[in-house]
């Protein structure tokens, strides 16, 4: 009670239940809309993670740490005539083979597998060797359908660096979320 007063927020105490619910709703709708926009983009691109941030320098000079990449994952076909031009040698793909972070590397070889319809071999532009060492033990290729989460179709340099900062300094994330939440709940306009 007196804490609200000393913060100059005595107004909050006067709100009735409906007004309080409405304040909570304002905040919830911001989170919900952001999440549903993200899911909508996921569905449209058919990728579980349609926007990723480059975390390593293995694709320099094409991509630097912090670049924001936009992915497209409906090009599952091997042929150029197939859906959305297929995935070709020279394209940059993002894959996730159960490691903690997705990897962004270029396609250098393609083949049809015995059990899988379409396989890729990838390599980082800035690396000396191809990615076989990065694949799960005993695996010599990537399964386009199961392990790749999309081809890079666009990028914005550097803006993703914020997320690198936030993940390397977790307290920043907590502070940012707290401040935003507080502002939305306390403001009525």
């Amino acid at each position: 009670m007196s804490l609200l007063d000393s913060l100059g927020l005595s107004e909050l105490r006067r709100l009735n239940v409906r007004q309080q619910l409405s304040q909570i709703l304002n905040f919830a709708l911001i989170l919900a809309t952001a999440f549903m926009l993200w899911k909508g983009l996921s569905i449209a691109t058919d990728s579980p993670s349609p926007i990723v941030v480059v975390l390593s320098g293995s694709m320099e000079p094409a991509f630097q740490r912090g670049d924001l990449l936009f992915l497209w994952n409906r090009n599952l076909d091997m042929n150029k005539e197939g859906g959305f031009g297929g995935t070709q040698v020279g394209e940059i793909v993002v894959y996730n083979t159960g490691t903690a972070i997705p990897i962004v590397h270029r396609v250098v070889r393609r083949h049809k597998g015995e059990t899988t319809p379409f396989n890729l071999l990838t390599k980082g532009d800035n690396n000396n060797a191809d990615d076989i060492e990065l694949y799960p033990h005993g695996q010599w290729y990537l399964d386009r359908e199961k392990e790749v989460i999309g081809s890079v179709v666009g990028y914005v340099p550097f803006v993703g660096y914020v997320t690198i900062m936030l993940s390397e300094h977790p307290w920043m994330k907590t502070a940012l979320l707290g401040i935003m939440g507080l502002l939305v709940v306390l403001q009525r306009e």
């Binding site: 100059g8 005595s10 107004e11 006067r14 709100l15 409906r18 007004q19 619910l21 409405s22 709703l25 919830a28 709708l29 989170l31 919900a32 809309t33 999440f35 549903m36 899911k39 909508g40 996921s42 569905i43 058919d46 579980p48 009525r188 306009e189």
Partner: protein, 189 residues
């Protein structure tokens, strides 16, 4: 009202919100029954949308993107339909309305707004009785009438203002007479 609300006199939205908040308790004391339909519909739209987003988040989190994407598509579409409906409701149905209430078959709808950098409270009163054409009254009055120099809300002049602006209230209450005589003496001086 046990305590007197205090506002920051430099914040126009605070002046308006506090004033709006004071309408319902006073009209309630005069026997008006407030209708909460507008707010309830807004809350229903909003919280349904948020529930959909919450369920989508949970399902996507537990089942994974591939398994969940069939329902995610429908959830995303439903969410944005509800969100659009909510926006339309707030813009075109609720608009600036701050109070809807009824007494003895007479329905009053109060809408208020302020204009940028202008310390005036604009109040529109629509009075409707079944079988007769609705009556509209517009009033523009300075906030200085019911906020003192320190920003405390002063009940009496505000009640008088409502008495004089809302035709459904009998103008012959002590507060109204007091304000009228005050105005007269101000003119003389």
């Amino acid at each position: 009202m046990a305590e007197r609300p205090k506002v920051n006199l430099n914040a126009l939205s605070e002046l308006k919100n506090t004033t709006d908040d004071m309408i319902a308790p006073y009209l309630k004391s005069l026997g008006f029954k407030q209708s909460h339909t507008l707010m309830d519909v807004r809350l229903a739209f909003g919280f349904t949308a948020c529930t959909i987003a919450g369920l989508t988040f949970y399902y996507d989190w537990t089942a994974g993107f591939e398994a969940a994407k069939f329902w995610t598509l429908y959830a995303v579409v439903a969410y944005f339909i509800l969100n659009t409906a909510l926006t339309f409701w707030m813009m075109f149905v609720e608009g600036r309305k701050v109070y809807v209430g009824e007494r003895n078959g007479v329905r009053i709808t109060l809408s208020s707004h302020t204009e940028k950098h202008s310390p005036f409270y604009h109040l529109k009163v629509v009075t409707s009785k079944p079988g007769t054409a609705p009556l509209t009254a517009n009033e523009k009055i300075s906030f200085t009438n019911w906020f003192d120099q320190k920003g405390y809300f002063v009940e009496k002049p505000f009640k008088a203002f409502l008495q004089n602006t809302i035709p459904a209230l009998a103008a012959k209450t002590p507060e109204a007479i007091a304000l009228k005589s005050e105005n007269k003496s101000a003119k003389k001086a």
